[in-house]
Structure formats: C-alpha cells, structure tokens
Subunit: 357 residues, 2 copies
Amino acid sequence: MRVIHSPVQAEHTYRHEVVSGLPVPAYEVPARAAAIRDALERDGRHRLAEPRGWGLGPILAVHDADLVGYLEGAWAEWVASGRAARRTAIVPDTFLLAGYRGAMGEASRPVAPEGRIGYWCFDTMTPLMEGTYRAARAAVDVAVEVAEAVLDGERAAYGLCRPPGHHAARGMFGGYCYLNNAAIAAEWLVRRSRMRVGILDVDVHHGNGTQAIFYERADVAYASLHSDPQRLYPYFSGSAEETGEGPGLGATLNVPLAMGTDDDAYLMALERAVDWLLDRTDGPLVVSLGLDTFEQDPLGDLAITHDGFRRCGELVAGAGRPLVIVQEGGYAVAGLGEAARQWLAGVDARAAAHRPE
Amino acid sequence: MRVIHSPVQAEHTYRHEVVSGLPVPAYEVPARAAAIRDALERDGRHRLAEPRGWGLGPILAVHDADLVGYLEGAWAEWVASGRAARRTAIVPDTFLLAGYRGAMGEASRPVAPEGRIGYWCFDTMTPLMEGTYRAARAAVDVAVEVAEAVLDGERAAYGLCRPPGHHAARGMFGGYCYLNNAAIAAEWLVRRSRMRVGILDVDVHHGNGTQAIFYERADVAYASLHSDPQRLYPYFSGSAEETGEGPGLGATLNVPLAMGTDDDAYLMALERAVDWLLDRTDGPLVVSLGLDTFEQDPLGDLAITHDGFRRCGELVAGAGRPLVIVQEGGYAVAGLGEAARQWLAGVDARAAAHRPE
C-alpha cells in the first residue's frame, strides 16, 4: 500500500499536557508516528513516500481563515510579546464558553494572547508552540496526497498524519488536533470526484470536529464508533441522538460503545456503520483511523486486539470502496506500530482476495 | 459601619491554580479575607457580625438551578467516583466552547465529571473542592445580609464576601467566582425595594457575570471600571461597545482603563460612572469592591494608592445613595486590609459630613 508520511510532522513536540489541572507527560508524541512508520517499513509490503505541498486551498475549503491565520501566527506573537520566556507552549486557561455572554461580534474578539487561544481552543491538552503549525500543515499535505492517490486509482492508501485532526472543527481546535486532516481529505474528494463521500471514524473518541464540519451536509456522510462520551472525552457530543441537521439530517451516525467492547462486538458495530455509509454514499471512504481502541491504550477503554485490527481492516476493505485512510489517535506506543500494520494488512489481504485475476 | 463576614468562607481553600497550563500558587486565598477583617477590627469604627442564613431563594432568583445543583453536588460526585484520590480539586480541562457544535440540548449534557465541570466553568483558575459550595453559600449570605441592613435603613454596609462573585453568570462560573454575590444582592434589592438599582463594579477585571445577568434588564444598571480586557482577564467582554440589549439597551456602561491609570485619572472615570448610575437609577447602589486596582496588586495593572481608595470611597458615598458594598478581588494580601479600611473610611467620612445635625 502507498504510505504517506512527513518528517516535518515531528517538529510538533511537547513534554506535558494539562489534565484536570495537573501537567502529565504528553501522550501525543512524535514517537507514535515513528513507531508506525518503523512497523510499516519492516513489514516490507508498503511503499513509503512524502507528500507534495498542497498549499492553503484544501485547508480553507474546510476551516475558518481566521483560525488558520491564528494558528499560523500565534507562536510568533507569543514570542514577540515576551511570553515565551515564561511559557514554552501556549496553553489556554480562559475559554469562550458557550454560556459566555456579551462576547460575540468583532468588538469583543480577544486581543491578549491568553484570550486569543481561549477563543479558538477548547481544552488544555492541545498546546501551541514553535513547530505546531508547520507540523499541522504537513499532516494536511499527507492527507491530501493520500486522497490524490485514491483519485488516481489506488484502491487504498494510508496517511500517517500527526498531529491528528478529527477534533478540529471549522473554527475551533483541541483534542491534540489543529487542522482536520480527514475532513480536508473528504472535502477534497467531494470537490474532485463530485461523488458522495463517507467518513468512517474509528478513533476511540468521538470526532466532534468532523461531525460539526459536515453536520448540515448531505454530500458527506459521517459515521463514528467511539467510547460513549458519557465516559470519555470529548464529553459534549457523540450521542446516538445526534444525526445531522437541515440537509444533513440523517447523514450523521454515532455509535457509542460500552466499556471493554471486544473484537467480536466491535466488528458487529463496525459492519453496521460501514453498511450505513454504503447506503448513503457512492464515492470513496475516508477512514479516520484511531488505534486508541486498542486493549492497552492508556486513554481508551475498549479492548480491541491486534488480531481485531486486522479483521477491521478486512471488513472495511470488503466494502469495495476506495479507501483514504488517515491516522488519528492511538497512544500505546509499544503496540501502536503493530496495530497499524495489522489494520493495513487486513485491507491488503481483502483487496488481494478481490483483485480480478 | 456594619461589616458582615462569615468564617465558613475560609473552608474554600486551595494551593494552586492553573495559569497558561502551569500550576502557580493560588491568589484567591483565605488570607485575603483575614487581612481585611483584621484591618477593620483594628480600625475600631466598625461593627462586625455574621450573617443569617438566607437559603436558596435569593440565589435561584439569579442563577440557573442546574448550575447551583452542580455546585452543590460536584465534590461528592467526584469523591464517589474515586477521582479525589488523584485530584484533590476539580479543575476543568475540556470546555463547552461557544464554537462547539452538536452539543446543545439535554441529550448531550455531559455525564462524566470531567465534562460536567467544563460545561459550567470557563477557566482553569476556579477549582471546586470540599468546602467550595459551603463557602460560596456563606458569601451569598453575607451579601444578602448587607442588602437587608441597607433596606433596614443603614446608609452603607460592607460584606466581606469570599469567594468573590462578579465573574459568575446565570449558568456559568469562573474567575474565582461561583455564585454572584453582588448580582444576588442587587436582585434582592430590586425585589424588596421596587426601585431601580445600580451596580458599580470597581474590580480591576470586567464583571462579565454581572453584566450578563442584567444585560437585557432596564431595572438594574451596571457600570464597570476595569483594565482594558484587550490586556487583562476575562478577555472576552468589557469593551465600551457593550451597552446592553433589548430592554437593557443603554443600561450597561463599560469603561476600559489604560495600563497604569493613577488616582486622579481613575477618580475622573469613577465620577463619570457614578453620575451615569445616578441618572439611571433611584435606589441603592451595589458596589462590587475589587481592590485589585491597587498599585501593588499582582494581577492588576492599574496604580491606585491607599489614599486613592479613600478618595474613591468618599466620591461614591457623595452620591448620597445607600451603599451595599461587597468584596470582590484584591490579591496584594499585605496591602489589602489597609486598602479596604481606607475605602470604607472614605465612605464613613463622607457620610458623617452629610449627616444632618
């Protein structure tokens, strides 16, 4: 399989994230991507390559230009203000909550750097620093390159995106995500193929950003399997009651899963989600491939095994649609490379079985 | 002057708050209230007393019952879930940002304790713990007791409220504030007196909660002098363009001040705000007495002196309206008692000058 990755992504690196008010060692680290790349290289069946630069076009098709401008300039602004001497990453402490009043409109857009990040970012786990924007841009290039490969005829291609993307919305970032790689790829596919595109989000966390971007759209169907947000991040979305709005009503499917869901139960839910997507789309599927459903993941609470990941890959490839697979979460670094390798091996096995002789 | 305080307020105490992602020693500490009480006791001209219990009635006249229920039960819920062993205070890390989508309605109200606090709280500086709710309730009792004293004929009375209140809105808390003592006192005065009440907020930070509570009301006028939110917390509100809405249009006045504003410049702005309030109200004035305008305050950036505070008290008392004075911020503990003592001495001096012989 064609595997796209970018060394620039490793420029985004930080030591700590803030969880419930205390700094803890960061989970979203460059070692994640390195582990996957190493496993895929060792596997020997993949062709690794770097992406071309795709510019801002695909990004601005999905994200608010002001958010992108903020992400691009925030670190330089932080340094210029002298704050970098005290804080080597920008982490918000004050947030423009939905309940905040008298804060709308241009007049009250925050000016202070501490306020600016709290206008755009919704958590304390997604710091902005020196290399963040470059890495996020590289991850988008990876995703678009994968989409292009599929448009050019590949049955499936994989983008080793890092940072991940599915928590980033049109005008909001968080959850380790800055730009929504999967949503950008999906939008790219819609515009280039004129077909209805499906997004299958198998990260253990609900992809609130992707859902929000396409919530009122009929041409992109979004299906997500995730730990019930009543237990897990991001808490505020991902219930089965959320099914889209307006023209998008019925084009969102959320499947909250019970704690400890194992391979067999997961595969049943996955099959249902894939069937649901096939009914509503005719174009490629974008897979938001979170591997934090893994039984050893420190942030997830499901129980998928390496064998389960292979079966998932087989099942999804069995749908027969071209697959644009982009990496999302997955934090058990020791088992992560093998998890990705198995998932993609499942895809390849199925694709080989289906290949006309 | 009658001074109301409650020892229960000291039950709210924590060591650290989280600023830009790092724990720093807490600013909003019991020593603040102790310093003020000691200074007023030493002064000898004040009558200190504790409040009666006023129950939930005055609180529910201002706050969302669900917020109050959350504040009451959150710590027990945290303990029952086993989380207190890891985190001795509840600090949000994930926030229901205004830009968060698909999160409205009962279906997606968060259930996990980490999500619940991020639904109600807008910053990382306002932890919830064991004694928080009791202390916040005691602070409200102090404020209502002061309002009652004024309704009973006192020309001015002072409530040594802690935690402060003016950042708490109807359904949102933050900024060291849980329940809005000043807003509750103002609402109490409106209902009991049937007069139009003014709120003069002289805390160095914009009182976004108080503004929000009365933003569409004509019977309560809100005037705030504060450091420009383009520089200082809470960042998202407090610009001069915010003047109220609907029936409340024109009943909000924000006066953002330049860095380093000194006594003379401050008093000119204060006189303007007091005149503005006198034009729009006929009842008592509630003073949100933040003393973080002090030249040595670690969180403020204005330059008011102890002498300036005395002049402020004189000016406000010179308006001739009954004064319900409730404590808000002020974090230079060493100079805080004297700041409060001077402000109240100014009030007393003016009241004495005006007293008919």
